[in-house]
């Protein structure tokens, strides 16, 4: 999931002809001031923190300025913020428009229908979750034949638009649909879409690109999700890795099994801290790297729960044994292993040779892992 910052989302919108306020990005107060003085940003203007979290307005992350000096001060104040845990590195300065009305527009995927869905609401400018269902219109859009004129007409009606703004909506919708399709987006959202005079302007932009389509979109390679540094390393190594607050490390293969393992650990009073999903691999080196990554997260104990399919038990055992020799004594942790499935016997034999016992029963091994974490923590 590649979440674009507002200004990056607006660059995408620009590419597809969606009307935007005039504006520019600044990374320092001085730069902000210069942008206004140079005329790149007309006055009065709005200065907005470029962070991924919502609720910027209430959080002091959006300010207004009527002079270049005010823009500088606003930018300085916002750039000093840490907004919902995210350091503000960029601000977007944009002309402040006299708007008549704020609308909501988005396209995302409806998994059940296996179709994109166009979501419209005349109640824009607030979080869409807070708008009553009766005030939200949803239309499925079939990729073949694509967004149609009758769907656009229905959207205009749901937004209460006629005349100039209805015509402008046609262009906005065409652009939004093309962006959703061509950029492999999970979500393209304009909230608010403002009625300004006879036209429409996208005041905000939320664009999320699908990770799996990265091979078609090298242009998004540099844009990172809100991952921790270890999560980032894991991503580079193509290991699914999630950090939580607990103290038990869980290494499993497959999302379902990983989640089930978590459920069982919780049941017995455990407190999982890191999930590491090996996925499907038959490379012992990848397993070794995963273990070393886990070691860096400093768990109190590690529960290894593998059901061998594509990832065979002997591959995991080999990788694990290799990793253990590389972890410094001070960083070692108690390990509870459970390996089942393809090449189970071979795997168990490899572990046994390294002095590790695999317990076949999930309940018992989970209990052992919880006990080990407690023992280590005591």
């Amino acid at each position: 999931m590649v979440k674009l910052a507002e200004w990056q989302g607006k660059e995408v919108f620009r590419k597809y002809g969606i009307p935007l306020p005039r504006g520019a990005v600044a990374r320092s107060a001085e730069e902000a001031e210069a942008l206004v003085r140079d005329g790149a940003v007309p006055l009065p203007c709005v200065v907005k923190a470029q962070v991924l979290a919502g609720g910027r307005g209430k959080g002091g992350a959006v300010r207004f300025a009527s002079t270049a000096a005010e823009a500088r001060d606003a930018a300085a104040a916002i750039l000093a913020l840490e907004f919902k845990g995210e350091k503000v590195k960029e601000v977007l300065l944009e002309e402040k428009l006299a708007l008549a009305h704020e609308l909501y527009l988005a396209i995302t995927l409806d998994r059940s229908a296996r179709l994109p869905v166009l979501i419209t609401s005349a109640r824009g400018g607030v979080e869409i979750e807070s708008v009553a269902d009766t005030e939200i219109d949803r239309q499925h859009v079939d990729p073949f034949p694509g967004l149609t004129a009758f769907e656009k007409r229905r959207a205009a009606r749901s937004l209460g638009l006629t005349g100039g703004p209805a015509k402008a909506l046609d262009q906005v919708l065409t652009g939004l649909w093309r962006a959703f399709m061509a950029e492999d987006a999970e979500l393209v959202e304009i909230n608010p879409l403002a009625v300004v005079g006879d036209g429409l302007v996208a005041l905000d932009a939320k664009v999320i690109i699908e990770d799996d389509a990265a091979f078609r979109h090298p242009e998004y390679a540099e844009i990172r999700d809100d991952r921790t540094p270890l999560e980032e390393i894991a991503r580079e190594k193509e290991i699914a890795f999630v950090q939580l607050d607990g103290n038990i490390g869980v290494i499993a293969n497959g999302a379902g099994l990983t989640m089930a393992t978590l459920d069982v650990l919780k049941e017995f009073g455990g407190d999982p801290g890191v999930f590491l999903d090996l996925g499907g691999t038959d490379d012992p080196n990848k397993v070794t790297e995963a273990f070393l990554l886990m070691a860096q997260a400093k768990p109190k104990a590690v529960f290894l729960n593998i059901f061998g399919g594509v990832t065979r038990c002997d591959t995991v055992a080999k990788g694990l044994v290799a990793a253990l020799t590389q972890v410094p004594a001070a960083e070692r942790f108690p390990l509870v292993a459970r390996i089942r499935g393809n090449n189970e016997k071979e795997g168990i034999e490899i572990l046994r040779a390294a002095g590790i016992t695999s317990t076949p029963n999930l309940r018992e091994s989970a209990q052992a892992a919880v006990a080990a974490a407690r023992g280590a923590g005591a």
Partner: protein, 294 residues
């Protein structure tokens, strides 16, 4: 489930010359599946594990009568591989490949549907009917012929559960691993009617996950249309909201798709809910025993 897998099933493996393709060609054969052809463009005329390789699916179908495809080709080429299978008239295609963009899958799904091909997957372990055939990658060791149906969005968790059923002395009629991607070819509500109509299945184990609303829709279907007993398990009950557990499908958003909502819906629909994977075999055995007494 002889509507999908039966004595006439003949499998073509797309991407057979890749490592996974080759490994699983062997394992499908060991399961007893007639693997009659492989396809890798440019490698036509060679053989893999004794299986003839063709340049195109149409050639493979003409030469061997293949009627089920198992797709292992890398994600960037998976859409094309599936469209080729559909175009060649193959009625069942298991897409094992992971990381296929959902935009590609939208095209794959609607094209396949319009032309009468059932997709299972993508990013899935596939389908197996012990005693008949397997198309996919579920380990052979977990199976034993029997009368329990299994349908699951998970991969290895499915193996774990199917294996648990086996170790409890029971066996499976058919096991579906649907995959947990945002867009799947076959969902719970697509698979359940097949089990309802399947004379070889007495009871169905449904394995869900947090995220999406497939389990809620399954519950709706079970409540109104499904007459066989259902044992359900939902993984991720204790997963924190908003964190990704590896599947794009496993995101909890806006209070929909939570474990609570799924479990409540399934209980309302009359399913027996297991809290942990290891409870499933006991519940299954209990219901099976009751059925036997009846």
């Amino acid at each position: 489930m002889t509507t999908l897998l039966n004595r006439e099933t003949r499998v073509v493996i797309q991407g057979i010359t890749g490592h996974q393709g080759t490994v699983h060609a062997r394992q499908m054969r060991e399961f007893g599946t007639p693997v009659v052809a492989g396809v890798t463009p440019g490698k036509g005329g060679s053989t893999v594990e004794g299986v003839p390789v063709y340049d195109a699916v149409r050639d493979a179908v003409q030469a061997t009568g293949a009627n089920a495809a198992c797709i292992f080709v890398p994600a960037p080429f998976a859409k094309d591989a599936l469209l080729e299978a559909v175009d060649a008239g193959i009625p069942l295609a298991v897409v094992v490949t992971e990381h296929i963009p959902f935009h590609d899958m939208l095209v794959m799904y609607h094209y396949a549907r319009a032309h009468g091909t059932r997709i299972i997957g993508p990013n899935c372990p596939g389908i197996a009917s012990p005693g008949y055939a397997k198309v996919g990658i579920i380990p052979n060791v977990v199976f034993r012929p029997g009368r329990i149906g299994v349908v699951s969005r998970s991969g290895t968790l499915t193996y774990e559960i199917v294996n648990g059923i086996k170790e409890h002395g029971l066996g499976q009629s058919t096991c579906f691993g649907l995959g947990g991607d945002p867009v799947v070819g076959t969902s719970f509500v697509d698979a359940l009617p097949l089990f309802e109509a399947d004379p070889d299945t007495d009871l169905v184990v449904l394995v869900g996950e947090i995220g999406g609303t497939a389990e809620e829709e399954a519950a709706e279907y079970i409540q109104h249309h499904f007459t066989k007993p259902v044992v359900a398990y939902i993984a991720g009950r204790s997963a924190p909201p908003g964190k990704r557990m590896g599947h794009a499908g496993a995101i909890i958003t806006r209070g929909r798709g939570t474990a609570e909502s799924k479990l409540a819906a399934l209980e309302r629909a009359g399913a027996r809910v297991a809290r942990f994977p290891y409870e499933i075999p006991d519940l299954v055995a209990e219901i099976a025993a009751r059925g036997a007494r009846r």
